[in-house]
Symmetry: C2
Subunit: 367 residues, 2 copies
């Protein structure tokens, strides 16, 4: 019998997202990559639909907040709620926002350091997926609990009432999000008029940019007695530029967020100094317990997650090209036919080896 | 950008089983291993429970057959039902049996060669999980559609009204199941009074045995004109012995069945002669379209699936020993406390590397 790995502690995640029978969005895009990277992922499905809603039809059920809370309550009652991470994605209703808030708060009662990854799924390219009222709820109810938020450009704009056109706009947005009390912010993709990374090569015409920032413990702070935790941290910002690929990639945000969570988890597992960092502060409004990472951790996690993401997007892009079912840019929903939409599904499983072994090509630059 | 794998065709599976938020049974035990081995797995959850039912409590919903069929109908309508394999596990109700029957029949209309893996989840160690009426439904409704069944000893006995005590009993059981028209049969674990494999070593006191059998095309048959397909096939039986490990391993059957499916899929993907084999027969009662494998394929698939399974069971066994929460044999359900039951969960994720790279120690012997 071969020897087996029984290391005492595996990292445990609770992922609250949608489920589709076919295709890769929500939990279906997020669960496998986290498991592949060694996390024990518990899964609450907020809906069970046949497929995502871009197909010509969909069927199934949305389960509602009470079902979600019933599941969580019993998991807790049975003592199975020893989670290190909470991940939430698309919610759709105010009730679900409240349910996730309650889950987060109750998990933090048990584990002060619970790392809550809030994927701020509101919309994309100027159109909302969710009722407008949810924007305010995300800002007021969920963001103040989050350890990390991962808005795309449109979502970052919605959450801060700003527009992102140039790099300084993105920096302002991130500063606003830190000011709400979020220790880690990643704007996953933005178009910036004034940034063009020449190192990507002359053939890359259109570029997208990930802009990230983490709070790090300010060494000048004396620790738990300072009373004003805002002074305890400095902000470390960075940017990663990567080529824009034309095409449609449903679930790309869900995938990226799960990869980022898993990479952060992997880093935390191999380091100990973060635990010390989070102990330093204890004052009112302290974000320490919510997930202060070690210096450079967010950069490293983003580089790795993006490397996997870019490969899977490239595979999906190439597959779309190869199917002979063209999907011109700016498609109206009514123009989206099933055979075409099927090509938008992430080529996740055939490219699973790139989840564990990404080749980091797009590197972060400090801001 | 690294080159990516976009091989035209990935193997597609539809898995219809239960879902639990926490722990590894049903789809939660089956989906990840199949994905890890490269299969595109679509997932219909028949229930969403907080955890399996051996914990002190559970919450959630059973969805019922209409929900299952609604999901399937829309997946089909959207043209997403190009499945190579159907896998069904625990069903619990007559309605669900009928739903799976309908799904199988409709998928076969599109793909004559759909390989239906029927995990005959009825009970274990002498006690039923399901209403007694389901035994007859499995026999009459589902078994005649199956390409492969994977009963444990108790289930094999229920399906054939026989008792398995010695090897000949198991052979009789398998012959009965072939006679119903099932081309591939694996009795996943049986205790046999008259078999003891010395090669496992003197320290292995108690042994379990997997007994498998597949139909292979009889070369003397002239093909589609013979009219009596039963004469077209011979039966190839084998046995694999492995050590019994004391302990409780919930979801072990679900895991094994998914590993076996994935191994068969992997073998079919790299071979072409099977396609020819299944073309040979076309008469009434022909089982060819239901999944005649190439000679030796089932042996190879079982050896590999069992190798992974044995490693994960060993890891779970060792973990149970290490937790300091003893679980004596023959526990009554009322004696099962949450902390103990938690130790019964398969150590699947920490040992995921053994899914792809099992070390085959327990080898098949021909019968």
């Amino acid at each position: 019998m071969p020897s087996v790995d029984n290391s005492e502690k595996t990292i445990k995640v609770l992922s609250v997202q949608s489920h589709v029978v076919s295709g890769y969005v929500g939990n279906r895009a997020a669960t496998f990559p986290m498991q592949y990277l060694g996390l024990d992922v518990d899964v609450i499905n907020t809906v069970q639909f046949s497929n995502h809603t871009q197909y010509e039809g969909f069927s199934g059920q949305a389960f509602g907040a009470q079902h979600v809370l019933d599941l969580f309550n019993m998991v807790s009652k049975n003592g199975l709620h020893d989670y290190d991470f909470l991940l939430s994605g698309y919610m759709g209703t105010a009730e679900n926002v409240d349910a996730v808030k309650e889950i987060c708060q109750r998990l933090r009662e048990n584990n002060k350091k619970l790392f809550f990854v809030l994927d701020t799924v509101l919309g994309d390219y100027g159109s909302l997926y969710v009722p407008e009222a949810l924007i305010g709820l995300y800002k007021k109810v969920l963001c103040p609990l989050a350890s990390l938020v991962t808005p795309n450009q449109f979502e970052a704009e919605l959450l801060t009432d700003r527009k992102i056109k140039v790099l300084q706009d993105a920096v302002d947005v991130i500063n606003d999000l830190h000011d709400i009390g979020i220790p880690n912010v990643v704007v996953t993709s933005a178009e910036l008029e004034d940034v063009h990374d020449e190192s990507l090569g002359a053939e890359v015409e259109k570029q997208l940019h990930l802009i990230g920032s983490q709070l790090v413990v300010n060494c000048k702070c004396s620790g738990s007695d300072c009373g004003d935790c805002k002074n305890c941290y400095t902000r470390q910002m960075f940017i990663i530029s990567f080529p824009f690929l034309s095409g449609y990639f449903t679930g790309a945000g869900d995938l990226f967020c799960s990869l980022l969570l898993a990479r952060i988890a992997n880093i935390l597992q191999t380091k100990t100094h973060d635990a010390n960092a989070t102990k330093k502060c204890g004052g009112m409004g302290c974000v320490g317990g919510r997930g202060i990472l070690g210096e450079g951790d967010l950069v490293q996690a983003c580089e790795r997650a993006l490397a996997t993401q870019a490969t899977i997007i490239k595979a999906t892009h190439d597959y779309q090209q190869s199917t002979g079912v063209p999907a011109p840019e700016g498609l109206d929903r009514s123009q989206r036919k099933n055979q075409m939409v099927k090509g938008f599904e992430l080529r996740l499983i055939p490219n699973r080896e790139y989840i564990a072994n990404p080749k980091v090509i797009y590197k972060a630059r400090k801001l």
